[in-house]
């Protein structure tokens, strides 16, 4: 069987996107408002509020990097073994909500702050795979692109609103950071309530013999799953990290540092506008071509950074293409993967793919940093573009192939 044939089953159009997807989208929207509120003010809080030094930041910032990957896999496996995907997701959302209050309780202790931020990230790690599994299980295979598109668009709206809410709270509360954290907790708690009340769990019949760790490991013996994980990792390895892209853009254009958050906001805006239409396109023309097209946009981004354009056209082109890249790959890749994974191991499989991608992404940032240091940013970005092209070819070969 060709993946492209699984890729294109009957489609029910937008009607295939059911209430569960919208409910999960609402949960993500509300949760993202909460988490982006904190993301927006955390540096301000650490430096101005707590007067931490750069080295102390490094500690706070470094503690959680990579620490949540294992938990993501454990969460995925637990969700499959118990088939209580909603419960595992709720645990993740709840943990992140409580972590917001932890920021208040941690006071000035760097160690406690690191622990609280780790708990917040751990919550995110726990919830992502069961949530995506619920989307795939509650949607007809032909409409997965639309479903993920709708979900990611709602998620993006939350990420867009969050910083604005944080600024409004700061303005209303005489710049009290505690008020931002309390508000963020309240918003996150509302997200948990919506999840509990509105999201219907997809409880498969509990298998007579529960899923064993060996079976989870056995996922990797399935050729198609192996190819998916491999493709996701290769693509992750070719992606260099938003920070680098925005930094290079800032250096090239001599933008004021203040543009940094706005570059990210610009990308999210394009992302949230295009996630649903590109998801629908993926359902119509096939998911693989859309994912490959997304990586094509990424190649263009890397080449443009030291390309012929300059000034505002450059900034606009890069942000639009970068948003296209995210809209065409993030949810669509999950829509591509979902149907390939056996239902009883769906969450574990999704966690596996996301972990592979995340770990590879971590590695790529290190590699790109080294390339930058040794050969300069211009050569490094051209190498990155070549890397994406190779990854794109490898992905096309891996996923477009006969079983």
């Amino acid at each position: 069987m060709y993946l492209s044939t699984i890729d294109r089953p009957k489609t029910g159009g937008w009607k295939g996107v059911n209430a569960t997807v919208f409910a999960l989208g609402a949960v993500s929207l509300v949760t993202d408002v909460s988490s982006e509120m904190v993301t927006a003010v955390l540096p301000l809080y650490l430096v101005v509020g707590l007067q931490l030094s750069p080295a102390a930041y490094g500690v706070v910032d470094g503690v959680y990097t990579g620490a949540t990957t294992l938990l993501r896999l454990v969460g995925g496996y637990l969700a499959d073994r118990t088939t209580k995907r909603k419960a595992v997701a709720a645990l993740g959302y709840g943990l992140s909500a409580v972590a917001k209050l932890g920021l208040l309780a941690a006071g000035t202790s760097t160690a406690l702050l690191g622990a609280v931020i780790t708990a917040d990230r751990a919550g995110k790690g726990l919830r992502t795979a069961p949530r995506d599994a619920l989307i795939t299980l509650s949607t007809p295979a032909g409409d997965l692109g639309r479903a993920f598109g709708v979900h990611r668009a709602m998620d993006g709206i939350g990420a867009f609103i969050g910083p604005l809410v944080a600024l409004a709270v700061l303005a209303a509360a005489a710049e009290s950071f505690d008020a931002v954290f309390v508000t963020s907790f309240c918003v996150a708690a509302l997200g948990v309530v919506i999840l509990v009340v509105f999201v219907r769990d997809h409880r498969s019949a509990v298998p007579t013999s529960p899923v064993r760790p060996a079976a989870a490991a056995g996922l990797l013996r399935d050729k198609q799953v192996r190819r998916l994980v491999l493709a996701a990792s290769v693509l992750g390895l070719a992606t260099i990290g938003d920070g680098f892209v925005y930094l290079l853009l800032q250096k090239r254009e001599g933008l004021a540092f203040g543009w940094f958050p706005l570059l990210a906001v610009g990308t999210s805006l394009v992302y949230l506008l295009l996630a649903a239409p590109l998801g629908a396109l993926a359902d119509r023309v096939g998911r693989l071509p859309v994912v490959l097209g997304g990586y094509g946009a990424l190649i263009a981004v890397y080449l443009l950074i030291f390309g012929p354009l300059g000034g505002w056209p450059l900034v606009a082109a890069v942000l639009v293409l970068y948003g296209v890249f995210y809209a065409a790959t993030d949810g669509v890749l999950m829509a591509l993967a979902g149907p390939v994974l056996p239902e009883e191991l769906r969450t574990t499989g999704i966690a596996l793919i996301q972990s592979g991608q995340a770990l590879a992404y971590l590695g790529s940032s290190v590699l790109f940093g080294l390339a930058w240091q040794f050969w300069g940013p211009e050569t490094a970005t051209r190498l990155a573009a070549v890397g994406v092209a190779l990854a794109l070819a490898a992905t096309a070969a891996l996923l477009g192939r006969r079983r």
């Binding site: 101005v48 707590l50 007067q51 750069p54 009290s176 920070g243």
Partner: protein, 320 residues
């Protein structure tokens, strides 16, 4: 899903939203800033400038617990020397931060729009050179990292260096171009050209000597952060990471620039501040209490004596 259960779900969610919204709005509304409980009044004799609840103020050197002269000028970090005040104005919720350079009588001479979070400020003894350090989110070699931007303004010529990263830097005579270079904590020498600062790269935090006119910096010693040059220009006070590891905290120390002899001071708590020389024998610095409020302390510059509180609920000390 039946109609009744849908109504029940919506009711539960609406009640939760109202309750949680009430908590958030209530907490936000009640979050008024605490007003300073400090007696304001004229201060005579030798004075030290501090920030009291973020407002530029002065305390008496001889009677520091007496009244303070509190002004309306708000700064996150400030320093005054030679009649010039550098005030890093706070990043408002809806407004970017800026450097305000104030002349005598707090007349505003120049403002420089800055983006980032105020961390250090320093003015040369003559009042001509102004330096600042900000933390900049996302401006980093590694994604998600934090980094600093340190700039210098020459008030006489108007020359402004937005970031010391523009300067040519060297360690052990070899040029360093790593993108992970970060600078912070500038202190000026008496000639208004040479300066000292911290440069971090590759996990090291170097004391660097800079030449403003030549646009160069070179590393002199490792594990020196936030240097502050003594009035006679022969020693620096700084914070040294304990065991070379900032995670273990910092020990306030001085170094003789000629002999490189290091003297850890009698302050044994971890101090995360750029120290200030009140005179040849006294170092002042801020120490954060458990409740997050800073006090300004002093300690002798020669390892003798013991730390002493100069001004409670204050930071950013500078001799006037």
């Amino acid at each position: 899903m039946t109609a009744a259960s849908t109504r029940a779900r919506i009711t539960v969610t609406a009640v939760a939203a109202v309750l949680l919204g009430g908590v958030a709005v209530g907490y936000t509304a009640l979050s008024a800033p605490p007003e300073p409980d400090v007696e304001s009044g004229a201060v005579t004799g030798p004075r030290v400038q501090v920030l009291t609840n973020g407002r530029l103020s002065a305390v008496s050197r001889t009677d520091p617990s007496g009244p303070r002269e509190v002004t309306e000028e708000r700064c996150d970090r400030a320093y005054t020397a030679g009649g010039t005040t550098a005030c890093l104005r706070p990043v408002g919720a809806l407004k970017a931060g800026e450097l305000a350079v104030l002349g005598p009588g707090q007349r505003e001479l120049v403002t420089v729009p800055l983006t980032g979070f105020p961390n250090r400020a320093r003015v040369s003894a003559s009042g001509r050179m102004v330096a600042w350090t900000l933390f900049v989110d996302g401006h980093s070699y590694a994604a998600n990292g934090f980094s600093t931007a340190t700039g210098i303004l020459d008030l006489k010529t108007g020359t402004q260096v937005a970031s010391l990263e523009e300067f040519t830097s060297s360690v052990d005579g070899r040029p360093v171009q790593a993108a992970d270079r970060n600078y912070w904590g500038v202190t000026f020498s008496a000639d208004d050209n040479r300066f000292y600062a911290t440069m971090s790269t590759g996990g090291h935090r170097y004391l660097v000597e800079g030449d403003f006119a030549a646009r160069t910096v070179k590393a002199l010693a490792d594990n020196v952060e936030c240097p502050s040059l003594s009035p006679d220009g022969r020693r620096i006070a700084y914070k040294a990471a304990v065991g070379g590891d900032p995670q273990q905290g910092w020990r306030l120390s001085t170094m003789d620039l000629a002999t490189r002899e290091v003297t850890p001071l009698a302050e044994t708590r971890s101090v995360d501040d750029q120290p200030t020389w009140l005179d040849e024998n006294t170092i002042a610095y801020g120490v954060q209490r458990g409740d997050g409020v800073n006090d300004v302390w002093t300690v002798p510059a020669d390892a003798t004596g013991a730390p002493d509180v100069l001004a409670r609920e204050a930071n950013s000390p500078a001799p006037l």
